[in-house]
Symmetry: D2
Subunit: 124 residues, 4 copies
């Protein structure tokens, strides 16, 4: 194993590995016919809907303790499903997810100055 | 820099780094008051909705070429936003996202045998 | 005001009228090519995402007063958009929305007895 | 059949009746504590996610025939659930859903001229 050269490289390598595994999983089952970008975006939205449903009747305080309840495993699974479909979608679109993340974070830094954004909720 | 010991470690390190950066971004703006698990799950669902909307009128074939259109930057940004909120949500819930991903993939392997799942669409 | 011939009839008539108007709106623009059930379900999910985003950083108490804020018009518009796509989707699928509603409400009555459901959040 | 005093009135009356029934259903179970606007918007997003998931792997053509499959009842139920939460949300926010719908349709007419919108997909 080679030494690693920094966070960017590690990130790219890791995302690539997970995507490779998911790609093989789909290919072995002949699922590429289903995994169009359109369909994967729908699947991601469906999983995000399942995730939000786990929190819908909880108070903000209760939501902080959800991992101490019987819902914990479902929360982990739904979070993983969201991530799985995000990785798959990025893969079939040939989007570098790590770079996309860095670029969006940079935009957010430019858009939400600390002064103007303090205590002021905004979309990240 | 230390040599890296394997994919699991790299993955954990990287996710941790991104989460650390996002945590600081939120803390500097005093946004922890907004970033309850409930609210972050809502934000993730909202971003997933924006992502799915980019694909809603496209044919499956058109969706494969979306990165060659003027929508490409929006697709990258929305994918990044989904990832950002997934990372933040996992962070505030103290869920190890890499492990959650591995565990869900293992479940999927057990649940969707190659034989039974060939050409048979199913939720990953 | 004239007496009307009954809630069931009125309901069906009204939904039918709105659907007829939306159907013509789409047909005049040659939008039937876009309004497949799949695409309309995506559009509905997208609008639901926009709606939930309006509430994402609000406390429960703040959410009760959202119609007194500058977000009021957006809330009305997003609610209307959700309804528009629900009506369109039901129309292209030839689902009688009023009957579907009645049937689901009847299921909910059977499923959530008053005794067992008191103070016990559940999905309607 | 008796003459009725106009579509607007009928619509308002009907929506009001359904909302009244849902309001009583919630009140009998002491669910008003859960039915904040924020929570109802989440519930609506969750149901929209379930609905979109029913279509995620279907081709556009398959989606047109979904009511001839074993998924038909689920489609009806999810459509009804979306409508139920839209009605509840409008009710707790004191939004007149019929008027909101009319107003949005009027906006759409102004925004999407027949000439400019022909064959040109746009959000309704």
């Amino acid at each position: 194993m080679e030494p690693c050269s920094g966070p960017g490289t590690l990130s790219a390598m890791d995302v690539t590995q997970e995507q490779q595994a998911l790609r093989e999983f789909a290919a072995e089952r002949n699922w590429d016919q289903f995994h169009t970008p359109k369909n994967l975006a729908m699947a991601l939205a469906g999983e995000a809907g399942e995730l939000v449903a786990l929190f819908q009747w909880l108070t903000p305080e209760q939501s902080k303790r959800i991992m101490d309840t019987t819902e914990a495993e479902q929360v982990r699974d739904e979070l993983a499903d969201v991530l799985i479909y995000a990785l798959r979608l990025a893969d079939v679109l040939d989007v570098d997810l790590s770079t996309a993340l860095q670029d969006k974070v940079a935009k957010n830094h430019a858009r939400y100055s600390i002064e103007r954004s303090r205590d002021n909720a905004a979309k990240m």
